[in-house]
Amino acid sequence: MDSSLHEVWQAASGGLFVPTVGKDSHFAVGFSLVVVGVFLTFVFALNRSFANLAVIGVPASLALAVGVVYMFCAVGVYV
């Protein structure tokens, strides 16, 4: 046990934790990003090329990545 933590807690009174995306916006942000990711995936499927891997694949993966995390949170599974 570290008894100094009580003082640390008191000293951090101004440092409230604020998440990047608020609870109310989880679904909107998550769903939008997943839709964008799926749309870009279809676009990539129409023209599969090495160049499109970077131009479409990377943004699609990023959108899906963040979107999936926020969709988990939106349905109540706070990962």
Partner: protein, 491 residues
Amino acid sequence: MKTSAVFSAVLSLLTLASARSSTTSSSGSSSRADLPSTFTPPQVFKNANLVHVISAEKNYIKETINVVIENIDKAAQDEYYLPFTADQVSRLGGVEVKDRKDASAGLFAAEVVEFDPTSDTQYLRIQLPTPLKSGAQQTLGITYYLLKAYKPLPASIKQEESQFLTFSFSAYCPSVYTTSKQKTEVKFSSANVPDYTKLPGSGDIKQFPQKQGSKLTYGPFDEKPAGAVEPVQVRFEFTKPVTHVSHLERDIEVSHWGGNVAFEERYTLYHRGANLSSLFNRVKWAQSAYYSPSTSALKEIKFPLRVGSVDPYYTDVIGNVSTSRFRSNKREALLEIKPRYPIFGGWKYPFTIGWNSDAKNFLRKLSGDSYILNVPFLEGPKQPEGVEYEEVQVRVILPEGAENIKYYTTIPALSITDAEVKVHKTFLDTIGRGALVIKARNLVDDFRERELIVSYDVPFMASIRKPLIVFGSAMVLFVSTWILGSVNLKF
């Protein structure tokens, strides 16, 4: 000759090694068994005046010993001993010792000393922060709780009958020191105390105890030698449930991505009161709701949660239980649950409750990647009759990648039995989350809202591990699609 000499040398070395290892294991197995079996506390103190208050108002015993101790030794002393029986030690919890006249001295360290595990007498050693000089006095306030303290008498009652409990204790406060003057007060929740042991009085008082309303007073007694006991028993009306939680698992799950702290509590609850002497009669039970007679059955449990708590749920082994109500506004968040059936003496009811809260209510950010969490160690029911917890396991599940985990709690150190960091894997986890698991014994609802503070670090790369994993998986899918699409299958 040479061979036998080498053999004997190896044998002696082995013997030495085994002796050393056995010494190590015996000293390392229990830090509490550090006194010889012949140990008796040195007679260096005298209890100049002692008031022993036993509160039987709730379904556990709370004892408070206010004692003026005097050092009668020539040297300064800093260790005061309090005796308990081995059975009491197994049910002892929430020990707190302080100086009644100096609040700034804080709480004193107290630990159970097992000098001989087979002995029926065990000692609580209280470490005074500054040694008490010869002839000096100090006023100690010792508070502790005893669980599973009562026995119902009669052991079985009818559904509509009142419940009576018995409790045995010593009219003289058990002490390893001579006590010059003392008295013992016993407080009940009801003035109906039909039976209690009577003792011959002293001075102007012809008989002990003196009864004033719902309070019995044994004493004042004149000087009693060390180890003096006077067993007495009281029997009193207790028309409330004797709620006993044998096991509580409390999970606190922190999510940085979701900005949420999720709580879940799994209770194994028993009623330790008088059993029903006949089968449960639902008609009588329904009738009693209209003229509300006193009943010892547990009908409702109230959980005052922190303001800001949302999404409560209440389930048991069958599934969701719909008989609950959640009052939530700016001032309170009260979860009221009605068990699926009224819980009578000897009955068991396991159930689960849970809720969410915004992380900002409990979590603060320190410099860099460090965070600090402050949550209540216990947040269980708040009932007029109280609740006792035999075993408590609090698990704080931190975000994945949390490291440098430290904790501090204001729960009495004697009640904490174990604390370790384990790995907990759940949705979207790859390496698993650090989970601080703290086990405690013999707690009561008086310790609701005691703080549990946890600090930890989450490096940036660890904090984006989840989207990175999904990103990597999606990229693998795209690259695979591109590669597979480039394969020429034409001949």
